[in-house]
């Protein structure tokens, strides 16, 4: 028995427990792979101060196999680091520091590589270029799962150096190495000469081949990239989907988010075990020195107070601190009043950029954003940002016939109803039922068996059914600018949204549910350490402090939405009132003209004029609460596309560039 016991390598553990890292099924594996690579790229670009430009190519090689390659224009990776980063689990720069970044553990991309190796046997291919003059490095890597160490496969274990310039491009072409050498040329008018293409100076490209399944809709790569574009308005994304369509999300600002500072841990956030480890690792001599140098916000005075409370001499040597003393110090820390950690380590997106990002990607009529002041949970600073978009069409109504055909082909939903609900985010059960009824489909209809004519009928009914009533609010969740797409119900963000009373903001909501209406709410939790419920980083844990901040943020945007909706309601009411009057004006004019022989049209015109004046006056004077309504009282950070309810908004958006009002 004893002979059989041996240590387990991290790689072995995760190879068997891939679901912990987000590789539970082929569909999710594809997303996780793209996501890990894109997150790393974004972190790298931002740290290097480069406006990120990212290429995502997905292509099918065999049934159930996809080649995924992601390239960025980041700083590139040093040659000797490449194998470790991509070929060793839990290797990274982000774990040991307290700083806001997308990645945290250093598992992601290497796990994707391992997954690819396990499912297809193909190595991870990496091209890294440090600068325009220097050669690029090309590696083909595998992880040795037994030892959790990288193995370099190409060029007899040395990797390949590709010289810069034309010569290198020839080699790349010969060896079939993919590399985007130039930025895409912006489109210009026909009579102008296009500018010369700009060469990509540096960057990293990782190519993996994995067993996967491509499917659009909720939890898809498409959704992830769209959500990423919203929260990262400084990023340009070029996405080539497996069907060969190129989607480009252009950046709406060149301004990079401010660089987040690294901070030392705050004493409140440190647990006993960690404190003991830190005590062992420290090079400081006395306990006071240890406390002041290892933690933020601990001045010598604070350190002295901690020591006094713990009944430990301020000058006692760290080496001599016993486990009991450590416990006493730990308890003393909790009792001592220490200033909250500095919050400049967090870089929020900012209200204006949130609005821009949201508007760029999500169609709507009303946008509002709010950034809360930073706050602290368990000694970790964090900051909440909320944005909200109202109006616009549901994805179910925008979908084209060809896309619908493809979606139906791809889906694994058993019934049509399930297909509708799973594929189109925000389409509630009620709306799905309405569509089914309008199209006269049976409740057990399977999407796989639809005939061409039936698909056309479905498409028609999806277009014609009013889904905005039964539509549930869509919640876009972000942690450090990374979209969260799974475990919606477990997430503190969704829970907070559901617990809020949205009825007072003019939305309908049944108790304990998401409100309904064409609304998208975006919540961004930025922190030096985002508390996830699991390693696959899919949901945020329920900390009271975080939930409270989310609630306050949502209330801010909710109030403004309420103002907008009330105002719109008011305008609508005015229209309805006018309708009531206008309905009778014809009769009244006829009767008056019959009675005294005056001209019918003349009296009719007089009456309509009076009607117009009266309805306008009566409605603009006061709102529901008796407050005077003035047009510009929304405050800052609101974007309204078109206030006129009588014009067809969606049509306008399609035909002309929306008229933007930023105030």
């Amino acid at each position: 028995m004893a002979a059989k016991q041996r240590s387990i390598s991290v790689s072995e553990f995760f190879a068997k427990n891939r679901h912990l890292l987000g590789f539970d099924n082929p569909r999710k594996a594809l997303l996780t792979t793209v996501k890990e690579a894109v997150d790393n790229s974004l972190d790298a670009c931002e740290e290097a101060g480069i406006a990120p430009e990212i290429w995502v190519n997905i292509s099918q090689t065999e049934p159930d196999r996809f080649k995924v390659s992601i390239q960025d224009n980041g700083p590139g990776i040093l040659k000797k680091q490449i194998p470790l980063i991509f070929g060793k689990l839990l290797y990274g720069s982000k774990f040991h520091r307290l700083r806001m970044s997308r990645g945290q553990q250093g598992i992601g991309i290497s796990a994707a590589g391992m997954y690819g190796m396990l499912t297809t046997g193909k190595p991870v291919k990496i091209v890294s270029k440090l600068s325009i003059r220097k050669p690029a490095h090309y590696y083909e890597l595998q992880i040795d799962t037994k030892t959790n160490n990288p193995q370099i496969l190409n060029n007899r274990g040395d990797g390949l150096d590709i010289p810069a310039g034309e010569k290198g491009r020839v080699i790349m072409a010969k060896k079939n190495i993919e590399w985007e050498a130039y930025y895409p040329v912006p489109e210009v008018e026909e009579d102008q000469t296009p500018p010369n293409p700009v060469e990509v100076r540096s960057g990293t490209r990782v190519t993996l081949e994995i067993e996967a399944k491509y499917q659009r809709g909720r939890g898809s790569v498409d959704e992830y990239l769209e959500m990423t574009a919203i929260a990262n308005p400084h990023v340009t994304l070029h996405y080539l989907d497996p069907d060969g369509a190129l989607h480009t999300y252009a950046r709406s600002t060149d301004q990079l988010p401010p660089e987040a500072k690294e901070i030392k841990p705050h004493p409140y956030g440190v647990e006993l075990g960690r404190l003991v480890t830190m005590l062992k690792e420290t090079k400081e001599g006395t306990i006071t020195q240890f406390l002041t140098s290892s933690f933020s916000r601990v001045s010598p005075a604070v350190a002295r107070r901690i020591c006094e409370t713990a009944d430990v001499s301020t000058r006692s040597s760290v080496k001599k601190i016993s486990r009991d003393d450590a416990d006493k110090i730990y308890k003393a820390i909790q009792k001592t009043k220490i200033k909250a950690p500095s919050t400049d380590c967090i870089a929020p997106i900012g209200e204006e950029l949130l609005l821009r990002g949201l508007h760029q990607v999500v169609p709507g009529e009303f946008y509002v954003a709010a950034t809360r002041p930073p706050s602290v949970y368990r000694g970790n600073p964090f900051q909440i940002e909320c944005a909200l978009a109202y109006g616009g069409q549901n994805a179910a109504q925008k979908v084209s016939m060809e896309l619908l055909e493809r979606l139906i082909e791809e889906t694994d939903a058993r019934t049509l109803r399930q297909f509708l609900m799973n594929t189109f985010d925000g389409l509630g059960a009620d709306s799905a039922d309405k569509i089914m009824k309008a199209g006269e489909f049976g409740s057990r209809q399977s999407p796989a068996k639809l005939k061409q004519a039936e698909i056309e009928r479905l498409h028609d009914s999806m277009k014609n059914v009013n889904v905005s009533d039964g539509q549930a609010m869509q919640v876009l969740r972000y942690a450090n600018r990374v979209p969260l797409q799974f475990k919606m119900r477990d997430c503190a963000i969704t829970q907070t949204v559901m617990k809020m009373n949205w009825r007072s903001y003019g939305l309908s909501q049944s108790r304990g549910n998401l409100p309904s209406g064409p609304v998208r709410v975006m919540v961004h939790v930025a922190s030096v350490w985002v508390p996830f419920t699991s390693e696959s980083k899919e949901a945020i844990a329920h900390y009271d402090e975080i939930q409270k901040e989310i609630r306050l943020g949502l209330q801010t945007v909710g109030r403004k939405l309420g103002m907008f909706l009330r105002r719109r309601q008011q305008v609508k009411k005015e229209g309805e009132r006018r309708n009531v009057f206008v309905r009778y004006l014809g009769e009244v004019a006829q009767a008056v003209s019959d009675l005294n022989g005056c001209d019918k049209d003349e009296i009719y015109n007089h009456l309509t004029r009076v009607a117009r004046r009266i309805t306008k006056e009566a409605d603009t004077k006061l709102d529901d609460r008796g407050n005077r309504i003035s047009p510009a009282d929304y405050g800052s950070n609101v974007l309204i596309i078109d206030e006129d309810p009588e014009s067809e908004l969606t049509e306008q958006l399609e035909k002309t560039a929306p008229q933007k009002k930023l105030f």
Binding site: V580, A591, L607
Partner: protein, 384 residues
């Protein structure tokens, strides 16, 4: 006389030129004035409205000297640009238009006829100008009060209700009628009984007995009560319509006949008496022409249950609604100061039941005509 009926069965265009009486001209003028007001207000950019005197209890006053109910001066504005009034405003003007048409063509119609004349779908909607007659009737009354014109001046009449027999001869629309020779059905009292339509020729009767409804009236007619007691016998089929009330008032005022009422012993019977005597709240503007302050109430009285030794099984228990109504009536100013009436109402409430006139039949089929009424007439035993 009978100018209104001077029209001939001519085509509509010719009918338009029907000869107008001075009264018609006055009514037409006020109708045109109504429209002129709307035009004037609208052309000045003001929201048009019509002033309609209020026809509610709060706007009627009991005049103790004249002993009738009179309408007060409070008026309601009916505005076009008011969500709750827009529809009625339109209807008011439509009724005005309909009446003008009737007057110009020299024709009259029933209120139901007017309702059909004006009912149509509003252009571009699925809404009807009037949904049912109940929608239309109050508007007609509004026009009457707003223009200070009587219904017959607007060429509108109500359906006939009520009948009359007795020793009187009259001319109705040119036909001479002898009310003592009307068989078992009696003479149906028309809704318009103005002098232009009806003239009294000869009357030998000494008084008028007004009963509440047809069934009782038939009993009296069959027993030839009116011959025996030399009176006129009328009924109003419950709450008497204005034709009946106006006729009673004319008979009383022009021929000097006293009026006695035989009504049920319940709040509704009390109120019928009150309407005949003082006028109604709803038509307070017509009390002048209709009320008969000296009308007397013969019965049934609450005490008659004991006096006539009625069987308990003929009583009807008072409903909550009855009790409420009785208390309301007791508080009307024209009942408030009359001790005997207060005692009467109190007695009914303490009895806890009401009595119909027909209850007397339980004693004997002709008890009411042979004993009950003659006895009280002889004794002069009335409530006033």
């Amino acid at each position: 006389m009978a100018k209104k009926k001077a029209k001939k069965p001519t085509p509509a265009q010719q009918a338009r030129k029907a000869k107008l009486t001075a009264k018609d001209k006055k009514t037409l003028n006020s109708l045109v004035g109504l429209a002129d007001g709307v035009f004037k207000q609208a052309s000045r950019g003001r929201a048009p409205y019509i002033e309609v005197p209020s026809r509610s209890l709060s706007n009627v006053k009991y005049s103790p000297t004249k002993k009738i109910i009179e309408m007060g001066s409070s008026k309601n504005k009916r505005e076009l640009f008011n969500l709750s009034q827009a529809r009625t405003y339109m209807q008011t003007l439509l009724v005005g238009r309909g009446c003008k048409e009737l007057i110009e063509q020299g024709k009259t119609t029933s209120i139901r006829g007017l309702y059909y004349l004006l009912k149509h779908t509003i252009d571009g909607t699925r809404e009807e100008t009037f949904n049912d007659q109940g929608d239309c009737d109050p508007v007609i009354e509004d026009v009457e009060v707003a223009l200070n014109a009587l219904r017959e001046e607007l060429h509108v009449y109500a359906s006939n209700r009520g009948a009359m027999v007795g020793n009187i001869q009259l001319i109705d629309s040119g036909d001479e009628i002898d009310c003592s020779r009307m068989g078992s059905g009696g003479y149906a009292i028309p809704s318009i009984v103005e002098e232009e339509v009806m003239q009294f020729v000869k009357c030998d009767a000494d008084f008028i007995l007004h009963v509440e409804k047809d069934t009782v009236w038939r009993r009296f007619n069959e027993d030839k009560f009116w011959k025996e007691h030399n009176c006129i016998l009328t009924h109003g089929n419950g709450q008497p319509p204005r034709g009946v009330r106006r006729l009673l008032s004319r008979l009383h005022n022009e021929l000097g006949l006293p009026i006695y009422c035989l009504l049920d012993n319940d709040p509704w019977g009390y109120y019928i008496y009150s309407v005949i005597k003082q006028g109604s709240i709803n038509l307070a503007y017509e009390s002048r022409r209709m009320a008969i302050p000296s009308a007397k109430f013969i019965g049934l009285r609450s005490r008659d249950y004991e006096l006539c030794e009625l069987n308990p099984s003929v009583t009807i228990k008072l409903s909550d609604n009855d009790i409420k109504r009785a208390n309301q009536i007791a508080k009307y100013p024209w009942f408030e100061k009359k001790k005997r009436w207060q005692a009467e109402i109190k007695k009914m409430l303490s009895n806890g039941f009401k009595l119909e006139v027909e209850a007397l039949i339980s004693k004997d089929i002709s008890y009411v005509t042979q004993e009950y009424v003659p006895e009280r007439l002889a004794q002069g035993n009335f409530l006033d």
